[in-house]
Subunit: 275 residues, 2 copies
């Protein structure tokens, strides 16, 4: 998906919501466990009920890999289902991969060729040649970890060379590898005020912002410090939407939660003159 | 596997070789492609022919994920085969994972419960709570990326706070999360002289050293700067061994290559009074 298509999708749907498909088989409604592929059925229902309120879906790979080959099949089916039925949806493999060049190339094949993900989250620690194989694909995106939403973010991401912190160095240096047509950054909502500093380095980039909801981040703060004239934000919510209910009507309840967030997002998009 | 068992294995076999099972289906001998699971058959043959010359095997996940659910099955079968047939072999999932706590917990389940890997490589960028779920397992190991063997290592790993470089900070800080009974570090052979600095911070830790062979690192240099009184090294070679031949006798040729390295390693172990 191109940057223009993504912006168009945000404007049309009046939302910048990404729904995290962290579909833990131990947390999905029990009645689905009778199905052949309960996790796929769960994802399908969530997507069917929310696709007009979200611009993106983001399965976190860990919840699929923990079920081995079977989990991998649920993931493949989910991505195929989305791309077959809902053209224009941005799909993010939250995989946080990154390895030496020829190995990253194999990961790129997994997520961009065998599956048709639009984007992949990548860990920056190993530097340029660990990231560049993912950038070789037209209209595919790398979403590089910059400042994450968890407590441990402070262990290394604030490590400081003169006045520059590591997460800032990651943004500056990686800005030379690709521009805002191919690269985004992960910036946790739990550090919303940091978005101000990040916008100095990456005024036009899209930022993928996890941590709103269960992890305690505030949408209002994220918008205040992070929104630019084309929105520039993809805000993720996972558990707060997909596990809002574990009853038979779970997809309906998920829709209500997503709708609530979408309405708040529409208001922000209007307030900030994006739409 | 405990540290004592690992050391005992090195002494008995007179080797500290790890064989990287980067079993790219496009590079394995063509005659195997007729089999039901060519990659598993390849791995099985390599392990059968080299298990007395190596202490560890390290599949890199990318080469399995690039084949989707099928690749995941080859991996599961490989690890099951090793643990059923060759007790005392150390198995490393070279996955470079790392995510927020509840998500890393799912990865831990994938590699330590569903599969019986002894160790997992982990990327440090997200800090303590991204690593600690892997440390919750008795006799399992985290192998944290410190200084990697690729060119891009210089992009961020040498980032400097006062006199401390990021890879040194990673070793110092993570040393508080677990001791040398549960944690190892990745240090690329292409930076062998750096092992001297790393040994100041981690004198007793095992170091997993990739980059000998195809990537240009020298075993002699690695031993010179990195070996301690209990060996303290697991040196990996992948392509140089497993793809030494793509003919029907590939496993025999792989054995010859592994044997060559094992003999050199035995000499170093004797020279350094480890055995």
């Amino acid at each position: 998906m191109t940057r223009e298509q993504l912006i168009e999708s945000i404007r049309l749907k009046q939302t910048f919501l990404c729904i995290g498909l962290d579909s833990d088989i131990d947390k999905i409604p029990k009645h689905l466990l009778e199905k052949d592929d309960p996790v796929f059925e769960f994802n399908k229902a969530i997507v069917d009920y929310t696709h007009d309120l979200a611009i993106a879906y983001k399965p976190n790979l860990a919840f699929y890999e923990s079920r081995g080959a079977e989990g991998w099949k649920s993931l493949e089916k989910t991505i195929e289902y989305i791309s077959d039925n809902y053209a224009g949806i941005f799909t993010i493999a939250d995989a946080k991969r990154g390895d030496i060049g020829n190995t990253s190339g194999q990961y790129a094949k997994a997520f961009f060729e065998n599956m048709s993900f639009s984007a992949l989250t990548v860990a920056p620690y190993m530097g340029e040649d660990s990231v560049s194989p993912f950038l070789a694909y037209d209209n595919k995106w790398v979403i590089l970890l910059a400042l994450t939403s968890n407590k441990g973010a402070s262990d290394f991401q604030y490590f400081k060379d003169n006045d520059k912190r590591l997460f800032e160095e990651v943004i500056s240096v990686s800005g030379k590898w690709a521009n805002h047509d191919h690269m985004m950054y992960v910036v946790g909502a739990t550090k919303a005020e940091m978005l101000k500093d990040i916008r100095k380095l990456a005024p036009d980039h899209f930022l993928l912002v996890p941590g709103v909801g269960a992890q305690g981040g505030s949408l209002e703060e994220v918008v205040k410090y992070g929104m630019n004239k084309e929105c520039g934000l993809i805000v993720n919510s996972s558990r707060g939407i997909i596990f809002a209910s574990n009853q038979k009507n779970f997809a309906d309840v998920a829709r209500d939660k997503a709708r609530e967030i979408q309405l708040e997002m529409a208001k922000h998009l209007i307030d900030k003159d994006v739409i």
